[in-house]
Every structure is written in C-alpha cells, then in structure tokens.
Symmetry: C2
Subunit: 410 residues, 2 copies
C-alpha cells in the first residue's frame, strides 16, 4: 500500500453540539502528528466557506496540546457550521469543479467532514466525484448529533453530553419542584422531533433519592391526551410533586403535533400566529381539566451547548473517533463514515469502526418499541442501561474569572 | 452575660436557591458543635410545618460532615419551604400561641429562619412577641434570594450561584449563536421582576473572546421599544450574531410590562388567555420590523436551582453566614438579621454583621442608576467589578452515576 503525502481539510456542519469540537480536536491532533499530512486547513462554515475560499490554517491558533484541550471543551462549532445540502453533480457541476479546484490549489489529499446526515451525503458525493475525475483524495465522514438518531453507530458523538445535562437539570428541577407542600405538576419539554433519546435521558436522573421523572412520553408512540390526563391524575394522587418529561415532537396522530392540537395559536401585535410549546399546552390542560397547579419548562438551547456539564466519556470518544478517521484516511480509506461499536455493556467498552457511506441508509434510528414500557409512559431498564455509560465522567472545563473559557476562531 | 442552654429550631422559607441549603448546613453544623444547643429541630415547610407539628430532629439524617457537604451542594430547600406571611398578633393571636406552645414543648431557646423579606418579618414579629410574653428565646434571621434585592447586605446568599449559572449559560449561548454565517438576533430572558441584578450578571460572560451580551436591558429603567429596535439595528450592522439580555420585568411604563404591551394574548383550547414572554414578543418584533432572524431563550427555573454550577464563594459565604447566626444567638442576639459587609473589593473580602430587624426597611435594592450606562442599554464596569468576586470558584458537586447526588429529607 502506498501512503500519500499532502495537505488536509476539515469542516463542521449541521447543528451545534457540546462535542463536535472535541472531534475537531481529535482530527487535528492526529493530522498534526501524522507524517502524511503537512498542513491542516479548516473550512470556515463548512462547504459554504470552502466555496467562498474561507479557509484557515489550523496551526495558526491551535499551537499546543492545551489549545486542543480547550477546543475539546468548547461547545458549538469552532470553525462555524452551515446547513448546505450538496446538489447532485448533474444539476450543479460548477460547484463540484469549484470544490476540487480548491482541493487542487491547496494540494489537499485528505478531507474530513464532521456532521449529520447531510454531511455524510456530502462525503459520499465528493468521494464518488473524486473517483470519477481521478483526483487522488481520501474523504472521510465523522458523525455528530445530540439526537442520537443515526443508524449503524451504537450512539452518536454529542448525545452523551446532552443527555448528561438533561439528567442533571431534571434532578435539579425535581428538587426545586418538591419545595412547597401543595400539589404541582411540572412538565419538562425536551428536544427531539422524531427520536425520543433525549427525552428518555431524563430517566437517568432517577436514583440517589430522586424518583423523577414520573412519566416520560417519547415521540416514537402516538400521544394519547386522555391517557396522559389519566396518568397524571393517578400519579398526583400518590405524590404532591409530579414530574413529566415530554418530547417537543409528541404527536396525537402522524400529521398533528400535540402543540398544534391544543393551541389555538397566539396572535402577536403584528397579527402573526404562533404555536405554544408542547409543555405549555399540556400544562394548561392539566390545570384546566384536573385543577392542579402546573409549571412548564423548555430545556431549550442549552441542551446542545451546556459544555460546562459535558460527559467525559462523550468528549473522550469524540476525540477518539476524530483521530480514528485520520488514521483510516492515511491508511487509504475513503468514502466511509466512522462509527462506534459497543464491544461490551458492562464493563462499558467501545471500539471505532468504519463503513462504506453508500451502504448507510439515510434512516433515523428511533427508540425500539421494546425499550418503551407497555403503557407508553416510560422507558425500560434496558434503555437506561444503554444510556447510562454515555454520561459518565465530568469533562474538563477551563474556568477563567468564574466562567468557562472557550476556544474562539475569530 | 448568661448563656442559655436548650434546643433550637431552624426553618427555610420563600423561593428556592442553590445556596439556601448551604446556609442550613452552616446553621446546623454550628448548632451541633455548640455547647449551648442540645437538639436542633428542622421545620418541614417552615412556619407552616411548625403550626402542623411537622418537625424533624436534624441529627437523624445528617450524621457526618460529609452529609453536611452534600447538603450544602443540594439546590432548593432541604426542609421544604412555604409562602406564609405571619399575620399581626392582634389579628390572629392563636397562631402566636400555637407557635410558642411548640417552642415550649420542644424546649426551644434558639430559632433561626432562612428566607427573604417575609421571613425577616416573621423573625421581627416572633421576637417582639417573645419579649411581650417573657419567653426566653433568641430569634435570628438569615437572608437568601437569587434576586440580590435586599437592602443593608452587600449581596444576598444565593445570588452568586445564580449569577454564575447565568454568565456560563450566556457564554455558551453566544458560542451556539455564532455557528452560522447568517444574521441572527438572540434574545435571552432573565428572572427579576423589579431588580435587574440577574440580568446584569449576563455581562460576566464577557471577556475570554466573548463579547456577549451586546445589549442589556434591566427593569430599573423604562423600556423604550423604538430605542431598543434602533439599538439592535445598529449592532446588527456591525456583527452577524447579536445577543440581547432582557429582564422578565421590563416595562414600557410603570403599569405595563413589555410582554403585555406587545402580546395580544394567546387563547388556548379552553379559551384562556396567556401572555407570551418578554423575549418572545421582542424577538417577534425584531423579525417583523427589522427583518432579521431571531431566537429567544428563557433561562427559566434553572437560574435558581442549577447547583451543578454553583459559585464556591457563594456556597462558602452562605455556610459562614448561617454559622455566624448561631454564634450571635448563643451570645445573646435576638431579633436581628445577619448580613454581609464588603471589607475590600480587591482583594475581595467580606465580613458578617447583624442588625436589628426593626431597622431594616422592607425596601427592594435595585441597581443604582450610575451602574447603568447613560444610554440605558448596558451596565457599567463598576457593576461588573461588584459582581465578579461573587461567582468565583466552583462549589463541590458530588456525582454519582453521572449526575449530582443531593441530600433529600424524605
């Protein structure tokens, strides 16, 4: 086998996570230390930046291992991200020509793209095009998403940190909710349109004297409003503080979100209509129908960027999978996606593998039915056992003047 | 001076914070170690619990110093809280009789109440009543509130931890907001109806390559909608990601909250009207009038219970002020409130003092005008210098299975 020496490029794409920069740190460190990679360029705002020539030499700002540790602890995308679906070559050949002109001008022999499904599609299309035009380059994809909804991989880089924050916040909210003696139902709304992994992660708050959440509704099953009210009524007879976790993606039928079904829509001062959130409409309904005081909490954006509460396991694995992508590429791999294989559940042990991207169906991986309880209002111990290793350990945070310091490109 | 030997009671009241249990730990440890206090009883749900005879012996569950460290790291109120304003003696003498009957039955010679303004009012009324009926008891108040809006004290226990979480989250949100190249205005809504201290704490995110927030609106000044739009327009011409912090209590005039002025109110499926949040109505307005994409975030409940991100300074001071209350009481003090005096700003050094509660006017302490900039869209360096020492250090967190463990009474 012949090793190719040249430069490399790396880009980040899709929604931010707390771990995508750890993967970038893993890619860059392995590239920096590789005898086959000379200069590593970063794409500012992914493929979109590449098309505009917005490319930086990664070594300028990342000089030491401490710089890489800081990068690995920084949420969001250091290089910036984009939401850009690469068109088909036959529709826009000029885009492909432009990208490969950039590759050629920068003597790029290795290309790494960290992102979700669209990014893997980009990897697939570019690697096929390279073969077609006979440009020698190894192109690898590294997955990331807080939603944990990618097929093939045991779990996604980024999920563990989001899950750890959600479990931590759930436990804190349940403490807060227990403070008054009066009856109260607290409804927490968690991210995830189609896959309920993040909502299920609220169950990791249980244990250590914490019984919350009492009820968990994932979007994998249709949401039955009557059943929900009956569940809440039943639990509230036994305890004064009831904690409910519900996915933002909960639907009463395949076309109708809960928030659409229950909100008549708000009209703002400009005459525009807005839908309320799922937690809010459910909280209002519990108050109206059951006469119980309610509170509602949307966990919001911090689910994907609360890096001060990242999982050490997630951050270490995210670095590892980035480094493995570089190793694979310099060993000749191309058009492949890196993924995790769980070698053992207890003790938890994962390895990194890779697969031809052409074989990876663009399928969302949802929670299997058997990991949701029969009643559809909780998850099973198997689901907890699967998730628990992913939130272990506290990733290093670099505090300066009382707040976490971050690596910032510009 | 004669030292009185007997039992003690402690209660918690008002809204939860991340530090009120640290004060409880301080009170309990000092009481446990005092030669003058035999048994320390805890009131379950404050005065309300006392009236119902719901009282626990604190030593049953808190046995070791490690138990107290865990308690100090636990958010919300370990003993439970209440919102109970003690009526005047002339209106409800039977309540006073009942309370002092409980004191007598439990041989209570010391009483400590941790809470906000209403709790200090309770301390005042009970200590006067004790003198009137000639019951020998020393009654002390220890303040707490995340809002930092109490007079006399340099700052309140609980504020520093809330401020640290808010500063941390602001920095993380600003990283998240920088990820796409397109223009975007992010509006963060922070707690605080009348005092803007928590909203001002977003400024502690600045530094370390973070310039957010770009604009800060505290409720001490009336909110001018035209000026706000002009501010946002101006900043957005210079940078693509604009971060705005606004208090939930922002008002356009003394009777009208911003959310009331801009929301026509939402009608839910049951015909009830609800107002949108301040951040949401402002975000909608920016989109409508300036045509810029917006996001809105309510920091919500975690502002007061994110103990995984507590300030070590706040937690240590909260323990200290609790212990000082016990020391003062066994030395004969009664009818007083403990408070902080800032001996020095740099290096930061505080001492604990006490004051006759009768002299403490029930006044909200808001941000002084000179600590808000002339334009009314930011705070000054003096305000930052005042707040910065309060968020220093990371309080210990006891992690088990990946999430913080808490001390739980029942």
């Amino acid at each position: 086998m012949e090793f190719v020496k040249g430069n490399a490029m790396v880009g980040q794409s899709g929604g931010p996570t707390s771990a995508i920069n750890a993967t970038l740190a893993g890619v860059y460190k392995a590239a920096r230390d590789s005898a086959y990679i000379e200069t590593m360029y970063g794409l500012v705002h992914g493929i979109q930046g590449l098309l505009q020539g917005d490319v930086v030499d990664m070594s300028v700002k990342l000089k030491t291992d401490e710089d890489l540790d800081l990068l690995a602890s920084t949420p969001s995308a250091y290089l910036g991200s984009c939401r850009f679906k690469l068109p088909k070559e036959e529709d826009k050949p000029e885009i492909y020509e432009k990208i490969f002109e950039m590759f050629k001008n920068h003597n790029v022999k290795y290309f790494f793209y960290i992102g979700g499904n669209d990014s893997m599609d980009t990897v697939y299309k570019l690697s096929r095009y390279a073969v077609k035009i006979g440009y020698e380059i190894n192109i690898m994809g590294v997955p990331k998403t807080i939603d944990n909804d990618l097929a093939v991989t045991d779990h996604t880089p980024g999920f563990g940190s989001a899950a750890k924050y959600i479990a931590t916040a759930t436990r804190e909210v349940s403490r807060d909710a227990s403070v008054y003696p009066s009856k109260c139902v607290t409804i927490m709304e968690i991210m995830g349109r189609n896959a309920g992994w993040l909502t299920a992660a609220t169950a990791l708050a249980r244990g250590g004297n914490c019984s919350a959440p009492d009820l968990i509704y994932v979007p994998e099953l249709m949401f039955n409003i009557e059943k929900f009210l009956e569940d809440v009524r039943r639990v509230s007879e036994k305890k004064s503080s009831v904690i409910v976790a519900v996915s933002e993606g909960a639907k009463i039928n395949k076309d109708t979100y809960v928030c659409e079904a229950l909100s008549k829509g708000e009209t703002d001062a400009f005459g525009h209509k807005h839908l309320s959130g799922t937690a809010r409409v459910l909280a209002d309904m519990v108050t109206d129908v059951l006469g119980i005081k309610t509170r509602q909490i949307e966990f919001g954006l911090l689910q994907r960027c609360a890096a001060h509460c990242s999982s050490a396991t997630d951050i270490a694995e995210s670095r590892m999978i980035g480094a493995a992508a570089v190793e694979a590429a310099v060993n000749g791999a191309t058009g492949e996606m890196m993924y995790f294989v769980r070698e053992s559940g207890s003790p938890y042990r994962v390895s990194v593998a890779r697969m031809d991207i052409a074989k990876i169906a663009n399928v969302e991986r949802v929670i299997p039915r058997e990991w949701i309880n029969a009643e559809g209002n909780d998850i099973t111990q198997e689901a907890i056992d699967y998730m628990l290793p992913l939130i272990q350990g506290e990733a290093p945070v670099f505090i300066e003047d009382g707040v976490p310091r971050h690596a910032v490109l510009k």
